[in-house]
Structures are given as structure tokens and as C-alpha cells.
């Protein structure tokens, strides 16, 4: 039987994986089609109806300025999607290159890169982000930079481990004896064998990235008002938490669903494609 069909069937039989896939598709669709789906303009004020609970007109109520929370949540998904797409792909790319260099290059370079990975990975992200944003001022671009820097080590370490396992394989030695340089070996032979687990890690990394953005925006260090993001909705909701519980509830649920969706999807992909990875987590 075609191995891909077998994998697909394995995946289809994984209930959690399919549930995750549905949540992920909803995440993408609601963000991409937010302008079509939103019942109201997310910036439209309606002061008389401010801090209202759910009504027929406003599904999950309004915020302190009478803006429709549901529409704002939909638009907030666009910020999350942007951060996730750019942040994860850029850090994956940098981590992949650095990790392969660490695994294939000389020992001292490996040690230096490992030290870099471990230092960055273990340092409290939020503390560092606070210090950085203090100097540069809040912006989506800065959040993106923080997300990328803190995500690189995860990919780098994984790419390094896989490269190390491959560097003495027979087909690599054969390629080297045919006169292939390091770039050719890495790009042509190691890369295709290393990329799979990294893509699975990327799926699991999306919620982490989205949470960092929401956390920073919640602290007022991310996107600037009036742009809606799940974090800024939570921030504005926190300010009026004694008057209305709806914004902090509505702003938080998509965060939880996104995390669940990508976690389930990532775990299912891992179980189907690379059961060996399971150990490390």
C-alpha cells in the first residue's frame, strides 16, 4: 500500500488529531475571513451600549467603549495568525540552519551554538521582553523579534541532534568521497532528513508564539490600541472586570481553543510520522 495513504488513514483514525485539525482550520478561516464574518465594525463605538452582556445584536457583549467584542475577537485572530505565520517560519528557518551547522561543523562551533541555544531557551522570555520593550516601545514588530529569538533554540537543538545522528551515515560518507562540499551535503542530503520533525515541532510551537503575543499585548507591550488582539481585548477586559466579565471570557476562549487545536494536531502528526519523537516530551 502507498505509505502516504497509510499515514493518512492512521491520522484519520486519530480522534484527537482530527479534532485538532478542525480547530486549526477554524482558526485560519476565522482570521482570514474576519471582515466577512464580523457582524460589526471592530472599531465602531456605541457608548450607550457599553459593557453589555450578550444580546442578539452583540453575541458576546461589548467592551468599555461599546465595541462589539465578537468582531474584535475575530479581528484579533488576524494578529495571532500573522505572528504565528511569520514568527514560526522565520525562527524555523534560522534554527534549522544554525542547528545543521552546529551538528555538522567543527566541535567549537557546536559548543558555542549550544551555549547560545541553552542561554536563550532558558531565560525567562517575559522578563527579557519587558526589558527590551521598555527600551524600544511597544510594537508588533518588536513582539515578532522576541518571538523569533526565543523560538530559534528549540528548532536549532532538534536540527542539531538529527544532523549529528546522520553525519557519519554511509550515504553521507559516500557523498563526501565523491567530492561534495558541506553546503551540498547539508542542503541536498541532510536537510530532507531533518525537516520532518521540525515541521511537527512548528505545529506545536504555534500556540506558544500566539500566547507570547497575547501576554505581551495584555501587558500593554504588544499591539497598540485600538488594534484588536486577544491580548489587548483581555487587557481592556481586565480593566473593567468588576463591571462586566464578558470581554475577559471572550478574549480568552480563542487562546485556549488555538492551543488545544495545534497541540492535538501536532501530537497526532508526531504519532503518525515520527513515533520516536514521543520520548522527549
Amino acid at each position: 500500500m502507498n505509505p502516504w495513504r497509510e499515514k493518512l488513514q492512521l491520522f484519520m483514525r486519530n480522534g484527537k488529531g482530527m479534532f485538532g485539525l478542525v480547530l486549526v482550520l477554524i482558526f485560519f478561516a476565522s482570521a482570514l475571513f474576519a471582515p466577512q464574518l464580523a457582524p460589526h465594525d471592530p472599531f465602531q463605538l456605541n457608548i450607550p451600549a457599553r459593557n453589555s452582556g450578550p444580546t442578539i445584536d452583540y453575541f458576546v457583549g461589548t467592551d468599555q467603549l461599546g465595541r462589539d467584542t465578537f468582531s474584535r475577537v475575530l479581528y484579533g485572530g488576524r494578529v495571532a495568525l500573522k505572528i504565528a505565520a511569520i514568527g514560526v517560519s522565520v525562527s524555523l528557518l534560522i534554527g534549522l540552519v544554525l542547528g545543521m551547522i552546529a551538528g555538522y561543523g567543527p566541535r567549537w562551533l557546536d559548543n558555542a551554538l549550544l551555549l547560545f541555544f541553552d542561554t536563550v531557551r532558558s531565560f525567562p522570555t517575559i522578563v527579557m521582553a519587558l526589558a527590551v520593550v521598555a527600551l524600544t516601545g511597544p510594537s508588533l514588530g518588536m513582539v515578532m523579534v522576541i518571538v523569533i529569538i526565543t523560538s530559534i533554540p528549540g528548532y536549532g537543538r532538534l536540527a542539531r541532534t538529527s544532523t549529528l545522528a546522520l553525519r557519519n551515515a554511509d550515504f553521507i560518507t559516500a557523498e563526501q568521497s565523491l567530492g561534495a562540499g558541506p553546503v551540498r551535503v547539508l542542503a541536498g542530503h541532510i536537510l530532507p532528513n531533518v525537516i520532518g520533525p521540525l515541521l511537527i515541532l512548528a505545529a506545536m510551537d504555534v500556540p506558544v508564539v500566539v500566547t507570547i503575543e497575547a501576554g505581551l499585548s495584555f501587558l500593554g507591550l504588544g499591539v497598540l490600541p485600538p488594534t484588536p488582539s486577544w491580548g489587548s481585548i483581555l487587557n481592556e477586559g481586565y480593566m473593567v472586570i468588576r463591571d462586566t466579565p464578558w470581554p475577559v471570557v471572550a478574549g480568552g476562549i480563542p487562546l485556549v481553543l488555538t492551543t488545544l487545536g495545534f497541540t492535538f494536531l501536532g501530537e497526532a502528526l508526531r504519532d503518525v510520522f515520527d513515533p520516536r519523537l514521543r520520548k522527549g516530551y
Binding site: 551555549l115 525567562p124 522570555t125 522578563v127 521598555a134 527600551l135 501576554g215 472586570i241 492551543t259
Partner: protein
């Protein structure tokens, strides 16, 4: 063992140094003039010149870094721009609050997470295992700052069971404990799931090891085998992970401190960031880095001490 200890200590020094350098570079290489960043644009030229002199801003960067690093090594982290208080005193005043919060959070998470992981591992793929698995993923899926906000909403505002803000009256342990419950719940919840999953995975692995099979073969009671033999080794990765995850734990306490308006390092850094009081930010970030290094070192040494296999290999 000694060689290992020395290597780890050196690595720790390098990490603190790297953090020091990063903070320094951020403060000095960012576009814009550090004086006007620190004092704002409305400061008079005299005040600006005075500040530049005090902070050694007219010296070359290398000299500035050496002065900064040398002072940091002797415990002098600089002075607050506004109140002129020593940064080290300000940071160490806040440290106990953060330490208590972090410790209590991780303690309850361990006390709940390890038994959950064990229960799951004893009968893998049973109904109980599946339910516990879902609970674990559920607790991981809610970011800790969201747990803080929702816990605040539910228990403090809607149900009014617990106090909302602050750390409680000094000298009143009961009041302080009541103020600790919600933040500690919020910071620890995600860890329950992490620990349960990790213990489950490593229990399943350990249960197949020869020494556990030998224990069964000797006819030891199942509780003895599971708890005295298997679990003892299966918890080791958890200790390592708590060491590595310290940064993550600290991020959780930062949010909890801000949301519950509780004193602590996170709140201090946040407030100082908001008032652009950079020497304090710099000092607090440094202390955080040092705390991280010490925690990971202690965690690794604990694993080495508990696991004879690791101890032998050092």
C-alpha cells in the same frame, strides 16, 4: 564529580555574563540617546550632563561595561534614577515574595501532578488514563496569565471567596496565605499537566526496565514495586524539567504578580519598565539570570545525587 561541578559553575558564570552583556548592549546600543531615554526630553541640559557623568556615559563603551560588570560582581547593581536607593536592596526586598509564590506553585503542582502521572501509567490506555490525559492537556492549554485572570474573575470577584489584590498584611500569616492561594493556583496549574504527562511517560519506560521486572519476579508487592522502585527513578526527569523550566515558571509569576497586584520581582520590573527606570530593570534582570543559573545547577545536582547511574557517570 568535581570536574562536573566546576564545568557547570563555569557555564553558569558564562550565562550570567551573557545576560549581563545582553542587558548592557540593549541599554547602550539601542538607537537614541540613553540620557534622554532615561530622563525624557524635558530634562534641562545641566541635569542631562549630571546624569551622563554619574552613569559614566561619557566613557568608552568597553570601560562602561567593565565598570558595570565590576560593580555587579561586588553586589552593587547601581542606583534607582529617581529615589537614589540601591537597586540591590530594592530587588532583594521583592525577592522573598516571588520565591514564596514560585515555590508554593511548584510544590502543589508536584504534589498533584506526580500521583496523576502514576495513576495514568499503572493502567495505560484505560478510561482513567484517557480522562487524566485530557485533564493534563487542558491545564497546559490555558496560558497561566489567562488562568490568573479567570481565577480572579471567578473566585475573587464573582464568588468573593478570596482576597483580590496584594500580598496580605505583614505579620498576619493567615491573611498572607489567603492572598497566596489564587496566584499560586494560577502559576502552578499548567505545571500539573506537564508533570503528570512527564511522569506518565517516564513511568511507562521505567516499568519495562530489567530491575523493575526483577522486582516483580521476586514477588514484591505491587505498591512496593511501583512506588519504591519505579517511581523513584521515574521522577528524575521531572526534577530536571523543573530546573530547565524555571524561566517559564518565572514568566508565570510575573503575570500573576501584575494581575493580582502582588509585590515581587516581576511586578518590580514591570513597574520600573513603565516608569523607564532602567538601572532597576537592569539590576532585576541580572538577579533573575543568576537565580536561573543557580536553580538549574541545583536541579542537575539533585538528579546526580538521586540517580546512581548518573552519579557514576560523572
Amino acid at each position: 564529580m568535581l570536574a562536573y561541578l566546576i564545568k557547570r559553575l563555569l557555564l553558569g558564570v558564562v550565562i550570567v555574563f551573557a545576560a549581563l552583556l545582553t542587558v548592557f548592549c540593549l541599554l547602550h546600543l539601542m538607537p537614541g540617546d540613553p540620557v534622554s531615554i532615561a530622563l525624557g526630553t524635558r530634562a534641562t541640559p545641566e541635569i542631562q550632563a549630571q546624569y551622563a557623568e554619574k552613569m559614566h556615559l561619557n566613557d568608552p563603551l568597553i570601560i562602561q561595561f567593565l565598570i558595570f560588570a565590576g560593580q555587579a560582581l561586588t553586589g552593587d547593581l547601581g542606583r534607582d534614577v529617581f529615589s537614589n536607593r540601591a537597586v540591590s536592596v530594592m530587588v532583594f526586598e521583592q525577592l522573598p515574595y516571588t520565591a514564596i509564590l514560585a515555590l508554593s506553585s511548584i510544590t502543589w503542582a508536584i504534589l498533584v501532578g506526580i500521583p496523576l502521572g502514576c495513576l495514568s501509567a499503572i493502567r495505560p490506555n484505560s478510561l482513567l488514563d484517557r480522562i487524566l490525559g485530557l485533564i493534563s492537556v487542558g491545564t497546559i492549554a490555558i496560558p497561566s496569565f489567562l488562568v490568573s485572570i479567570w481565577a480572579l474573575l471567578l473566585f475573587a470577584i464573582t464568588l468573593r471567596w478570596l482576597p483580590v489584590i496584594g500580598a496580605g498584611e505583614i505579620g498576619d500569616p493567615l491573611d498572607q496565605a489567603a492572598h497566596l492561594i489564587l496566584p499560586s493556583f494560577a502559576v502552578g496549574l499548567g505545571w500539573v499537566g506537564y508533570i503528570a504527562r512527564l511522569v506518565r511517560a517516564s513511568m511507562l519506560e521505567v516499568m519495562n526496565e530489567n530491575y523493575v521486572r526483577a522486582a516483580w519476579a521476586f514477588g514484591l508487592k505491587s505498591n512496593t514495586v511501583i512506588y519504591r522502585y519505579a517511581l523513584k527513578v521515574a521522577v528524575l526527569p521531572t526534577i530536571t524539567m523543573i530546573g530547565i523550566g524555571f524561566g517559564h515558571l518565572l514568566s508565570g509569576t510575573v503575570f500573576a504578580e501584575i494581575i493580582f497586584a502582588r509585590p515581587g520581582i516581576g511586578k518590580l520590573i514591570f513597574d520600573m519598565v513603565m516608569s523607564r527606570n532602567f538601572p532597576v530593570v537592569q539590576g532585576a534582570v541580572m538577579v533573575t539570570a543568576a537565580m536561573y543559573v543557580i536553580t538549574t545547577l541545583v536541579a542537575d545536582l539533585m538528579v546526580a545525587w538521586l540517580d546512581p547511574r548518573v552519579r557514576e557517570s560523572l
